[in-house]
Amino acid sequence: MPRMTMIEAIRDAHGVKMAEDDNVVVFGEDVGYFGGVFRCTAGLQERFGKSRCFDAPINESGIVGTAIGMAAFGLRPVVEMQFADYVYPAYDQIVSEAARLRYRSAGDFTCPLVVRMPTGGGIFGGQTHSQSPEALFTHVSGLKTVVPSNPYDAKGLLIAAIEDNDPVIFLEPKRLYNGPFDGDHDKPVTPWSKHPLGEVPDGRYIVPLGKGAIRREGAALTVLAYGTMVHVAEAAAEMVGIDAEIVDLRTLMPLDLDLIEASVKKTGRCLVVHEATLTSGFGAELVAVVADACFYHLEAPIVRVAGWDTPYPHAQEWDYFPGQARIGGAMKRVMEG
């Protein structure tokens, strides 16, 4: 089976869908001729022509706004925000338009659209290349929000997102593009070729939206995580020697409620981890969901580990990033609590 990086898997998902369906078009800043600053669309213009994959003006609202019009026409646009940090000019188009088009027109118009964006930190990108804005999308009715944690899922989820008839926000943890980064920034990153989830089948397959996965089975506590934090939490569990069950949510909206409930009811303890800032982060929703569904099964208070409530710093990146030490420490607290 071919081994791919997450970048190659994402590129492959585009290629599979573009070959299969003429209505799939791909555009964004530097996306066409050059193939994207992270190279996720490299080769697509050459393969499918300029009208299927092209460069866009630097105008995120225009990129998403035109994509909505294309989706209403009947195309399946897949657009790239160069960084999730740049999505805000398009926020109105996403929230007020894409998300509500089906509802407000009673199905007269729909918006099968994918907005891809690299998310998260760990690359010394400072405050404008490191943010994790997922909660700004999960809060919006009508959107689906996806965060893959490995090449296999990235391809399967992106194909599922492109085939979905509703708008999907597709957040790609950029620190995972080239390997399963576990938070240890001093050690060279393991390439995806050495990881089982770097094995990516040829052709079309999907990872269904709305379904999480258990990455590591355990009995002592449940860790709810997604994206980069899945790998950091796995490493942290090894480090502190706690039999943690790591749940990779994969899709944040709609959320795999049954999987979360089953795991927390089994372990009786829950730790929620994300890289985004703490307050009003998606972790707050997860805590509420668990408290609601599993309160009488809990043996300790639910704990959150998240980015501090500051802008993403540059020099202090590794003090900001929720690394193995903080997550491991929190695991111990949950076990003691």
Binding site: V25, S51, R52, A56, P57, N59, S61, G62, G65, T66, A67, I68, G69, M70, A72, F73, G74, L75, P89, D92, Q93, S96, E97, L101, R102, Y103, R104, S105, A106, G107, D108, F109, T110, S141, G142, K144, D164, N165, D166, G210, M253, P254, L255, L257, D258
Partner: protein, 408 residues
């Protein structure tokens, strides 16, 4: 102190209590502006962004190179469509005042723009309208009862009670779902047109925006994308002089005209008498042909005047003289077209009065039928259970749980 900086805040010529003054509005004589070929080099018609294309002169004659796109029969049909729009607005305004719905927006004085524009389009073309283009639907014979049911949010509302009154949607009538947010649809229209070009089809788009909303970033986004990809789209700015209480000078600044906004983008830009049904049709036809021949976008500023309040939540006497409507130098579109047809011998005062009565009866009958399906005030309304439907194609688990909790 006098030598320091000071902020320039534009002001309209006159405020309530003052005498209306439109002496600053320069109006070219009807028939004097040339009609260039549709494949003209945009740089050769930059002056058209500063003039004003008019066909109907003061006497009611159709004159100049832009005249002659419609037969008398088609013109008469256009007159009746405008009368229908006006009568529809009058009844629905009254219905709102009677508490049968929450909100209404008229297009009084602007009827010619949407009504004549629609007649320049073909089936399959798509409008991305604002909230004041009800004429697009009525000119395309969209059922009045369906419009009213939407306004009443009743059980026959095609939009199932989900949208504010008048935010219609009809794909089959080339009318994109109205958002209610401003300017977002302008760039979407460009995207729709790009999609049509990507697919190599023949359908074109028309994007709409008001004078005030041209200040929004999405107007400029639309202009950039339309210009870059030469999208087959007609970009319409309806300059009705007022954005709620804000006069057009606040959005326009020192640029001269809204049409001139197109020049920096290399987009052919026309400025047209929006109260002249024949001029609207002729200019629309020109721009539509350009789009369909893959010659790219056209920007058109339709110069008109919002003769009524912004909406039922607005009282214009607080910010502009009441007499301003009558003083508006481009007149009333219905009266002007009526006079033209009478001059042509195709119409008369008597027939006009009779047509008014017939149209009123038609609107009243539609209203009765719509009200038999309920009003917002008395119901019956769309079901609460349905409130949870259609957020996604398939209802996700969390919404199913919430619907259960709501007990529906």
């Amino acid at each position: 102190m006098g030598s320091g900086l000071s902020l320039h805040v534009p002001e309209p010529e006159v405020r309530p209590g003052g005498a209306p003054d439109f002496s600053g509005v320069k109006i070219a004589r009807a028939g004097t502006v040339r009609r260039p070929p549709v494949d003209v080099d945009p740089s050769e018609i930059r002056d058209l962004a500063f003039s004003i294309i008019r066909v109907l002169n003061r006497n009611g004659e159709a004159v100049g190179e832009w005249a002659g796109t419609l037969t008398d029969e088609e013109t008469l049909a256009g007159l009746k469509t405008m009368m229908r729009v006006r009568a529809f607005d009058r009844r629905m305004l009254m219905a709102q005042r009677q508490g049968k719905t929450s909100f209404y927006m008229q297009c009084l004085g602007e009827e010619a723009i949407a009504c004549a524009f629609r007649k320049a389009l073909e089936p399959g073309d798509m409008n991305f309208p604002t909230y004041r283009q009800q004429g697009l639907l009525i000119a395309d014979d969209y059922p009045l009862v369906d419009m009213m049911c939407q306004i009443y949010s009743n059980r026959r509302d095609p939009l199932k009670g989900r949208q504010l009154p008048i935010m219609y949607s009809s794909k089959s009538h080339g009318f994109f779902s109205i958002s209610g947010n401003l300017a977002t649809q302008f760039v979407q229209g460009v995207g729709w047109a790009m999609a049509s070009a990507i697919k190599g089809g023949k359908d074109i788009a028309a994007a709409w925006i008001g004078d005030g909303s041209t200040a929004e970033s999405d107007f400029h986004a639309g202009m950039v994308f339309a210009s870059t990809y030469k999208a087959p789209v007609v970009l319409n700015i309806v300059n009705n002089q007022w954005a709620i209480s804000t006069f057009q000078g606040i959005a326009k600044g020192g640029s001269g005209t809204f049409a001139a906004r197109g020049l920096g983008f290399g987009i052919p830009s026309l400025r047209v008498d929006g109260n002249d049904y024949l001029a609207v049709h002729a200019a629309a036809k020109w721009a539509v042909e350009r789009a369909r021949r893959n010659l790219g976008p056209t920007l058109i500023e339709w110069v008109t005047y919002r003769a009524a309040a912004h909406s039922t939540s607005d009282d214009p006497s607080a910010y502009r003289p009441k007499e301003e409507t009558d003083a508006w130098p481009l007149g009333d579109p219905v009266k002007r077209l009526k006079n033209h047809l009478i001059l042509r011998g195709a119409w008369s005062e008597e027939r006009h009065v009779q047509a008014e009565a017939e149209i009123d009866a038609e609107i009243l009958a539609a209203q009765k039928e719509a009200e038999s399906h309920g009003t917002l005030h008395t119901g019956p309304k769309p079901s609460v259970r349905d409130m949870f439907e259609g957020v996604y194609e398939e209802m996700p688990p969390h919404l199913r749980r919430q619907r259960q909790e709501a007990g529906v």
